[in-house]
Subunit: 254 residues, 2 copies
């Protein structure tokens, strides 16, 4: 028997009234889903919560116990609605105060830019006691980590930069490989055979995603597995099923 | 004293491994956030969960008790990975079986198209006992409602069409009005005055969203309230604050 694959999981918490009001379209979930997968971490749940401390605390405390890592985005700027640091402190029962290393970063940055490091900007140096900082190469004000919870900015460019700063710390598991094959057949035509293949390959997860393009119906079948050989065998069977139904398999993402 | 505003709330549950894997970028959250707001329903939380029955059941049962409405997207097609109907049935403790009205819709549709109404396609007529149907003008297979939980398709065009089919049933509250004003000032410059205005107007929620465009930093201040007069007064104060700091207010969304 081969070794069981190692699975490392994560959840994302997007903190932001602006996403829930529809004013801003989230861009961080899609980025994090892909970027985590690349380092062997499987995103298993995402929550979008309002800028309300009790909601943030409840989400953090549930998800940090259920998953190996939790990543939050949003709410770490200088304004009154930036309450993530206090919420993370409350979730862990830790005092939140000025973090000397973060203060030093901000002092250096504002001395350089000439802008005033006022009390509002100093809010960005507050973290729960003992937090490790996450470098922000874009605008300097750092993110931070408490235990398995990483706290990042909401602005996509800064969130992405922070993730690249911290990803070397993550201990990933066996990566999930995937194969996507499209076909111009209706899902209802493929469904029976596909269900039988799912039963044949319990260690390969098969998803079917219908589409309608250029006046034709079709489905994209995505197979995912931590076992490359099983994935390859399942993909061959999926292509054979499509051809048996008079469909021509179209390989997706190269 | 004016009457307290009526607030009606909702949560969205996006069911889909393909969103969590990063392969598909969700488009339904942004649509639903805006569309719900237009009918006086405030979206308060969104969860993206995997195609796993226990996860779906847990999310549905928590959120249907906390919010006035819950909307799910995804997992109602004909393939083995479409497990939403069974999961909703499990959440409510209801038997899931062929819904006669849904069967009639599918029979009419497939008689018309000439495609076979096979056992896989018949899966799309299964609902929890007593569910009310949600019309699908795009591809006919209906969504459904059990109590305060609406179940819709994941394909954006179908999700949107189903929402338009059901929205007349929703009983909204007082709408949330909003004003957005941008300025080429750093958040750290605005923060102190904005915090004071938030304290002055507790019934107006003020959010600050920094941006970096065309080589200049700025912030978009979004004020939201169910009380139009208070919102207008708060917006005037925000514009005055910006001018006092040598910033020119830029009105957003007309």
């Amino acid at each position: 028997m081969p070794d069981q694959p190692t699975t490392v999981t994560a959840a994302v918490i997007i903190i932001g009234d602006e996403i829930l009001s529809g004013r801003t379209k989230d861009q961080n979930l899609g980025f994090l889903a892909e970027a985590l997968n690349e380092v062997g971490v499987q995103l298993r749940e995402c929550r979008v919560v309002a800028d309300v401390e009790t909601e943030i605390v409840a989400a953090v405390n549930e998800l940090r116990r259920r998953f190996d890592y939790v990543f939050t985005t949003g709410g770490i700027g200088p304004t009154h609605d930036d309450i993530t640091a206090d919420s993370i402190g409350a979730a862990f029962g830790l005092k939140v105060d000025y973090n000397p290393a973060a203060v030093a970063i901000l002092e250096g940055h504002y001395a350089h830019t000439g802008a005033e490091l006022n009390q509002s900007r100093m809010r960005m140096a507050r973290t729960p006691a003992g937090a490790a900082l996450v470098e922000n190469p874009v605008s300097k004000a750092p993110g931070f980590r408490v235990e398995n919870v990483y706290v990042m900015a909401g602005i996509p460019a800064i969130c992405q930069a922070m993730f690249h700063s911290l990803k070397h710390e993550l201990v990933g598991g066996d990566p999930v490989h995937s194969v996507a094959i499209a076909v111009h057949l209706a899902e209802g035509t493929l469904a029976k055979g596909l269900g039988a293949l799912q039963d044949k390959y319990p260690d390969v997860s098969m998803g079917s995603y219908p589409f309608y393009r250029d006046g034709r119906f079709g489905a994209s079948i995505v197979a995912r597995s931590q076992a490359p050989d099983r994935l390859a065998a399942a993909a061959d069977d999926i292509r054979r099923l499509m051809r048996d139904l008079d469909g021509e398999p179209i390989e997706q993402d190269g």
